[in-house]
């Protein structure tokens, strides 16, 4: 389920980050002209487009992402170091493993799972089975952590958290109340230099 927004135009750019890593950055133009942005450090631009569509809708409505998804269960999200592997993005296998009681905490890389909707679905199942959710920011990039925070705000569960592979840059991150998905794009100077197609 993509964001319920009429999309006029979508464009994906490759961007060199300050770290030297490459990101795919998507821009979605809603029918009313509102622009939304998304990104991924993976190779699949689908997650970036999905994120950009939700960002466009939230900006268009003048609200934070969580207002569109039902609200916020918390106002800050804990960030922890966790080196255990994230669960492979295989829904059939994950459903079976959950049913067989093989998980206590679901380590989910939202970029690998591809969409807000998929994360919401996994979270619904986790809640039913009384499992915790840890959203992985795979490269510990601030954009990743901010996106994980926007998602984590909407997930039911007492100990929803963000995990990174290295020492986290902060112990917790507040849930953004800014319009959109709450990512500070100015962190990367190259973002403002993107020449978007009209």
């Amino acid at each position: 389920m993509a964001a319920p927004v009429a999309i006029a135009h979508t464009h994906v750019h490759s961007l060199r980050l300050a770290s030297g890593a490459e990101a795919l950055v998507a821009r979605v133009l809603a029918a009313d002209g509102t622009a939304g942005f998304g990104f991924t450090l993976n190779l699949d631009a689908g997650a970036a487009r999905d994120m950009a569509a939700w960002d466009a809708l939230a900006r268009c409505k003048g609200v934070a992402l969580h207002a569109l998804l039902g609200g916020s269960y918390r106002n800050k999200i804990h960030c922890l170091r966790d080196e255990l592997p994230a669960i492979a993005a295989d829904w059939t296998a994950l459903r079976k493993d959950i049913l067989e009681g093989r998980h206590e905490i679901l380590r989910i890389d939202p970029f690998a799972w591809g969409s807000v909707e998929m994360v919401q679905t996994i979270a619904a199942v986790a809640s039913a089975f009384d499992l915790s959710i840890a959203l992985l920011a795979p490269n510990a990039h601030p954009w990743e952590i901010q996106y994980c925070a926007a998602l984590a705000a909407t997930l039911k569960g007492d100990d929803t958290r963000i995990v990174v592979r290295s020492a986290p840059p902060f112990a917790s991150i507040p849930v953004s109340e800014e319009k959109g998905i709450g990512i500070d794009w100015s962190i990367e100077s190259s973002f403002s230099k993107i020449q978007w197609q009209s």
Binding site: M1, P4, K61, V63, H66, G70, S72, T121, V125, A128
Partner: protein
């Protein structure tokens, strides 16, 4: 109209209608059961809500949820939350200038098939249980129910029916369902004795009914274990709105493979988000979520249409009893045509409360506002 089933013979229904006015001037509508407990709890929870952010539905649920999640007030607590929760979703959708379906996920369809309830028997007035069973002892009376069903087809084009069984006589149900099938060979027919048949009787009856190709057996017998055993013995899908009615029932039902259809009631599940989560989890494990209702006003009936439109997991027609009510509380008449109802256009639920109608019907009303 008199509604007869295994649990009640009624001629009226009582509802709690919620109007939630928020700071930006927008008003949201909600509805829940009209039992004294649900009404009293809705008032109490509404007091706790004053001054909080109505656009943050999760936070509101959490606030009220100390009662509902702990299940301190059981189903009444969840139902009271659901009435307020619906009003908050409506107010939010109106504020964001979206339809409720869009806010839930997407507006996927404009029209939703609805189910016509068929009473266990057609009676001239609300009667005692003894009078009801006397009526059911005369098997020739089944034809009155068949005539009633055909009248619904003629009037509103219904294609889906739910027979509310009195669970008094398997022979009555067997004869009546055969006659309904013969009269309406292509209709979807669900059979609902509200778990009032014992396991052995229900299993024997449902095995015979397998041949009729019914849509599903709804609560043919009692308890999760009972319907799980029955399900294993029949080919027709088995549904429940009695044994899987909140979060903690879902996983046992999945593990036990107890049912095929979770016929979720918006009030029992505690509101929009809880219902949406149920639908996602059910679908993930091969169960089909569907929308249960009894005799809601237009408010909850329309809310159920928005849920069905928004959630791709919902494939079955919606239960609905609105067309049997002699009056409603909305300005816009809600019509069943060709067996379906249209989603209203407009923001939120897309409907308008008719104050004059509400005042005429009101038993009691309470204003809860900040000083």
């Amino acid at each position: 109209m008199v509604h007869a089933g295994s649990m009640y013979v009624i001629q009226k229904t009582e509802r709690t209608v919620v109007e939630l006015a928020i700071e930006n001037g927008v008003t949201g509508l909600g509805e829940t059961w009209g039992t004294p407990d649900a009404y009293a709890l809705a008032q109490r929870f509404a007091k706790d809500w004053l001054g909080k952010d109505a656009l943050d539905r999760y936070a509101l649920r959490e606030l009220l949820g100390k009662t509902s999640y702990d299940n301190r007030f059981g189903r009444n607590g969840l139902a009271a939350v659901a009435g307020l929760d619906l009003a908050a979703w409506d107010a939010t959708a109106r504020s964001l200038k979206m339809s409720l379906a869009e806010l839930i996920g997407a507006r996927r369809r404009e029209s939703v098939d609805v189910v016509s309830t068929l009473p266990a028997a057609i009676l001239p007035k609300a009667v005692t249980r003894k009078e009801l069973t006397d009526h059911l002892d005369v098997l020739a009376n089944t034809k009155l129910v068949v005539e009633f069903a055909l009248e619904q087809v003629r009037k509103s084009g219904f294609r889906s029916f739910k027979l509310k069984s009195a669970a008094y006589s398997p022979e009555w149900d067997w004869k009546l369902l055969n006659e309904l099938r013969e009269a309406m060979p292509k209709a979807r027919i669900r059979f609902d004795p509200n778990a009032n048949y014992g396991a052995a009787t229900a299993t024997e009856l449902c095995r015979r009914l397998d041949a009729l190709g019914l849509e599903f057996f709804e609560d043919p017998t009692g308890e999760l274990e009972g319907i799980a055993r029955l399900k294993a013995a029949v080919k027709t899908p088995v549904a429940t709105n009695m044994w899987v009615v909140n979060d903690e029932h879902l996983v046992p039902a999945i593990r036990r493979r107890a049912v095929d259809v979770v016929l979720g009631d918006l009030f029992m599940w505690g509101g929009i988000d809880a219902w949406r989560r149920m639908a996602r989890v059910s679908h993930a494990y091969g169960l089909k979520p569907a929308l249960h209702s009894v005799y809601e006003t237009g408010i909850a009936t329309i809310a159920n249409l928005h849920l069905a439109s928004a959630l791709p997991e919902v494939e079955y027609p919606n239960d609905s009893g609105l067309h049997f009510l002699s009056s409603d509380v909305l300005v816009e008449p809600q019509v069943v045509k060709d067996g379906a109802m249209q989603l209203p256009s407009g923001h939120g639920l897309g409907v308008t409360l008719d104050r004059a109608k509400l005042e005429k019907l009101a038993i009691e009303s309470t204003d809860i506002c900040s000083a």
